[in-house]
């Protein structure tokens, strides 16, 4: 039995939904359905889509690998300057993506902070698919960290404390109690990160460039197409959106519902 929501809340909720969904309908209406098939099956689109999916999946994995520890540290430890670190982690959110790309260039580029080190190691990041992944990870990481940290705080520490008194070492607690408990939060964080990575454009173009098959992701392709064929670009966006919804839908299928009292 769900407690439900006050009836009047439905009005703003519907308004909000309409506000998000109407533009989508508008796109659907505008798409030149005649050329749609050809457009979305073209070699360039296919390559871009595959690249996007591959890089976004990789960045999501990276985000999870880096972001889960970050969220855990932010939510479960206290150290001087924690609040500052927390706000700084938000930065990629605020940074206009193009500037984010510049910042990455300044860091990993040939003449960047780490450029020489990387060059010595024989790693050439710029203009490679790796650069795309880095750019996407940079913009997507804060989403995962923030939403997971929120979940960790809401979940509280009681179960972790109980586990510790049962003799579970911190690693065991983390693996067998913390992670399973915040799984829904981790999942929605990963979805947010994946979606953000999939839609990422500005930082990618600035940092990684745009070469078919290597660094030209779907959003980049859409931008280019828009120069010559705005409606086509919209159609391609629609494809991106549909793919995103499918991937996300599959990934989050069967999220457990929580239960009530008694």
């Amino acid at each position: 039995m769900t407690p439900g929501v006050p009836r009047w809340l439905l009005a703003p909720a519907a308004l909000g939904a309409a506000f998000v969904l109407l533009p989508l309908v508008a796109i659907v209406v505008r798409v030149p359905w005649g050329d749609f098939g050809e457009l979305v099956t073209s070699e360039a689109s296919r390559e871009a889509l595959l690249l996007s999916l591959r890089t976004s999946a990789t960045s999501t994995v990276l985000c999870v690998l880096l972001g889960v520890p970050m969220a855990a540290v932010l939510a479960r430890t206290s150290f001087p300057g924690r609040a500052v670190v927390r706000s700084l982690v938000l930065l990629p959110l605020v940074l206009p993506p193009v500037v984010g790309g510049l910042a990455l260039l300044y860091t990993f580029g040939r003449r960047g902070l780490l450029g020489e080190t990387l060059e010595v190691l024989g790693v050439q990041v710029a203009f490679s698919t790796a650069a795309v992944v880095l750019a996407q990870t940079f913009v997507a990481l804060p989403f995962l960290v923030l939403s997971l940290e929120g979940s960790l705080r809401t979940a509280g520490e009681r179960y972790e404390l109980v586990a510790a008194t049962l003799g579970a070492r911190p690693t065991t607690v983390f693996r067998r109690v913390t992670l399973p408990l915040v799984l829904p939060g981790l999942l929605s964080g990963a979805v947010l990160a994946f979606a953000r990575a999939l839609g990422e454009f500005g930082a990618t173009v600035t940092f990684a460039g745009s070469l078919e098959g290597v660094t030209r992701t779907m959003p980049t392709q859409i931008y280019l197409l828009r120069e010559t064929d705005a409606d086509g670009a919209v159609a391609l966006s629609l494809l991106l959106v549909v793919v995103a919804v499918l991937v996300i839908g599959l990934a989050t299928r069967g999220r457990a519902a929580d239960r009530g009292l008694a």
């Binding site: 109980v162 586990a163 008194t165 003799g167 065991t172 408990l181």
Partner: protein
């Protein structure tokens, strides 16, 4: 495992020193908010005391290097069952052994054994969300026991259990706690008598009384211990053959134990059964007559327990009816001096 705990927790008004010998079971008694759970939390390492030390055998657990909860080899059954919601009852119980490095299969076997010990074998496959309150409590007890800790901390292990399972579980605990260092919080005199070697009574964050369980419950010195033992207690000073309380009550009695001198702090303890109830102050042999007002009546076995504030008298139902007792009735509680045990506080 000897536990030595001396701790103050300022914001909870707790300042306790507690010692539990190796293999001993100590029952922690006391009113709500006395600090019982706080003591357990300090021992388990979940709460850092403001000052004080916790020592297990010769290992200092607080101080410069605080030993974290998981390394203490204590297991805490908290007041809330707090079963891991994502694990089945079986895996909840197997959690302790698994954490100690036991293989999954062996851990599950052990968990199954503990589940049947608490009468919850048939619940093994259930998630905590699908358990009733008492069922969850049983699984939580099994989980704490299955961890086979060096120090076991049980906070009201019998809470929410039904009368049909309580005696059996009490026997199980009695067997399991044999030879294991344990602190058990309880509000039940039977738990204290059957499970504990010693009882420690807390009140307002201080230890007010401690000693062997049977002795403390037979000859309580604190009002709460008397209450839990079902005895009447009047605390005061020994003067003129009676214990006189600050409130002006005087209870005549027979001193036992170390001789009392005039003016020594003493308690007078007597059983509710030894109290006779009169509408008017009686004459005759009983030397003590306490004017009280009935606050309430309760059945007590075959008799009726007449409560008047913190004093109680047991009378037959017939007598209660004849006296026309009801809350608010002013009566006199009378008790023969020979029935009153007096000893130093």
């Amino acid at each position: 495992m000897t536990l030595l705990l001396e701790a103050t927790v300022a914001d909870r008004g707790v300042d306790v020193a507690l010692e539990v010998a190796a293999g001993e079971t100590v029952a922690l008694l006391g009113p709500n908010g006395a600090g019982k759970s706080t003591v357990l939390a300090v021992a388990a390492g979940l709460l850092q005391p403001d000052t004080g030390t916790v020592r297990l055998d010769d290992h200092e657990l607080t101080g410069r290097r605080v030993v974290p909860p998981h390394a203490r080899r204590t297991a805490l059954l908290a007041q809330d069952p707090l079963l891991f919601p994502h694990l089945t009852a079986l895996d909840n119980v197997a959690f302790g052994p698994r954490s100690a490095g036991v293989r999954r299969r062996a851990a599950r076997d052990r968990a199954r054994r503990w589940l049947s010990e608490v009468g919850a074998a048939d619940l093994a496959g259930r998630r905590p969300g699908e358990l009733s309150g008492g069922q969850a409590q049983r699984v939580a007890v099994a989980r704490a026991l299955a961890a086979e800790p060096r120090l076991l901390l049980l906070d009201e292990p019998m809470a929410a259990l039904d009368v049909a399972v309580t005696p059996a579980l009490r026997q199980t605990l009695r067997r399991v706690l044999e030879g294991r260092t344990t602190v058990v919080v309880t509000h039940d005199v039977l738990d204290a008598l059957l499970l504990a070697d010693r009882v420690v009574v807390l009140d307002r964050g201080r230890v007010v009384e401690q000693g062997p369980a049977a002795e403390v419950l037979a000859r309580p010195r604190s009002p709460f211990a008397a209450r839990i033992a079902g005895l009447n207690l009047v605390a005061g000073r020994w003067s003129g053959g009676a214990v006189r309380s600050d409130a002006g009550r005087a209870v005549a009695g027979t001193p036992s134990g170390p001789a009392l001198r005039e003016g020594d702090p003493a308690v007078a303890v007597f059983r509710p059964r030894a109290v006779s109830v009169f509408r008017d102050a009686p004459g005759g042999s009983p030397r003590t007559a306490l004017a009280v007002v009935v606050t309430h009546l309760e059945p007590h076995g075959d008799q009726v327990r007449v409560r008047a504030g913190d004093l109680a008298a047991d009378v037959t139902a017939h007598a209660a009816a004849e006296l026309d007792l009801a809350p608010g009735t002013p009566v006199t509680f009378s008790v023969k001096a020979t029935e009153v045990d007096v000893y130093a506080r």
